[in-house]
């Protein structure tokens, strides 16, 4: 797999470091809602298809990039600097709602 860095040009994937799902947004730091934080840390869509993800060109210019990649075919449709204004997330990688959790099921002693 090769990624076309907007600055350096096309380079081997070995120069890049995967930095995770680019569709996740950090909750309000003041929030104390455990479900929201749990979703932010753990819940990922893992789609078979188009995926928006963060990569760092760690073995090159060291910028962070938002890469739109198909997780089945590895076809990359767009690469942009992560600092640039992001396009709305495509329909193929919808932002997921945090799954509802029942407070009663957490921390309950096994019966």
């Amino acid at each position: 797999m090769r990624i076309s860095c907007p600055y350096c040009g096309t380079r081997d994937v070995a120069e890049f470091t995967y930095q995770g799902d680019a569709t996740i947004t950090r909750p309000d730091p003041a929030s104390t809602d455990q479900n929201t934080w749990n979703a932010f840390v753990y819940d990922r869509a893992n789609p078979a298809g188009k995926h928006s993800e963060l990569w760092q060109h760690s073995g090159g210019c060291r910028t962070h990039l938002v890469v739109e990649r198909d997780t089945v075919t590895h076809v990359i449709t767009s690469v942009a600097f992560a600092g640039a204004k992001r396009k709305p997330v495509s329909a193929a990688a919808p932002k997921r709602k945090a799954p509802a959790r029942k407070a009663a099921t957490r921390g309950k002693a096994p019966s």
């Binding site: 600055y7 350096c8 380079r11 081997d12 070995a14 120069e15 760690s58 073995g59 090159g60 210019c61 060291r62 910028t63 600097f81 600092g83």
Partner: protein, 195 residues
């Protein structure tokens, strides 16, 4: 200034090595420039930073990815967005850049003691470097004066083409001896001269 010691140590063996059946394919040397300085600009201050670099060093760097200038005793190029590397034979260029690049424009980092400059020149320079880096070194893709940042496995390297058959590599001092040894092994098949 503190006197610098080459990190290459006993791995630096001047003379003719490798394939001696034909003329040396490459010449390897450590250029030991007096100053290696990184200039970073804040977003939107790129033109001001380039003007400051020009006033301090005389290098008129184009505002294009990887573009640079290469002169006899000094060179510079962009290696990342809003970042430029300046290499100068003289010591103390960092102070001149510090004066020119105000903290409203950006920042200046003196890397002179933290980097080692290695020159690969000769008719097989492109061939030898192509064995180490996944970068197109042909003259069309990598013209003279252009630079790039890349890595040989985990060893970060900044490379500038300073002549038709000449490349200047900047690597971390701490990795320089390991990289130099790998470079020598890669050049054995074409024959190399260390000068």
């Amino acid at each position: 200034m503190v006197e610098r010691e080459s990190p290459l140590g006993p791995a630096y063996r001047p003379g003719r090595h490798g394939n001696v059946a034909e003329a040396a394919g490459v010449t390897l040397s450590e250029t030991r420039p007096g100053s290696i300085v990184e200039v970073v600009s804040w977003p939107g201050s790129e033109k001001a930073a380039l003007a400051a670099i020009k006033s301090a060093t005389g290098l008129a760097l184009p505002n294009m990815p990887g573009a640079g200038v290469s002169k006899k005793d000094k060179a510079g190029y962009g290696f990342a967005p809003r970042r430029w590397l300046i290499i100068d034979g003289r010591e103390g260029v960092e102070q001149q850049l510090q004066k020119a690049v105000s903290d409203k424009i950006g920042a200046v980092n003196d890397l002179s003691h933290g980097r080692t400059a290695i020159r690969v020149s000769g008719p097989r320079a492109e061939w030898v470097l192509s064995k180490l880096f996944a970068v197109d070194f042909s003259a069309e893709a990598f013209p003279v004066s252009n630079g790039c940042s890349t890595a040989h496995h985990e060893i970060f390297a900044q490379i500038q083409r300073t002549g038709k058959n000449q490349f200047d590599l900047i690597v971390f001092c701490s990795f320089a001896r390991a990289f130099w040894t790998t470079l020598c092994h890669s050049a054995e098949e074409v024959g190399y001269e260390v000068s």
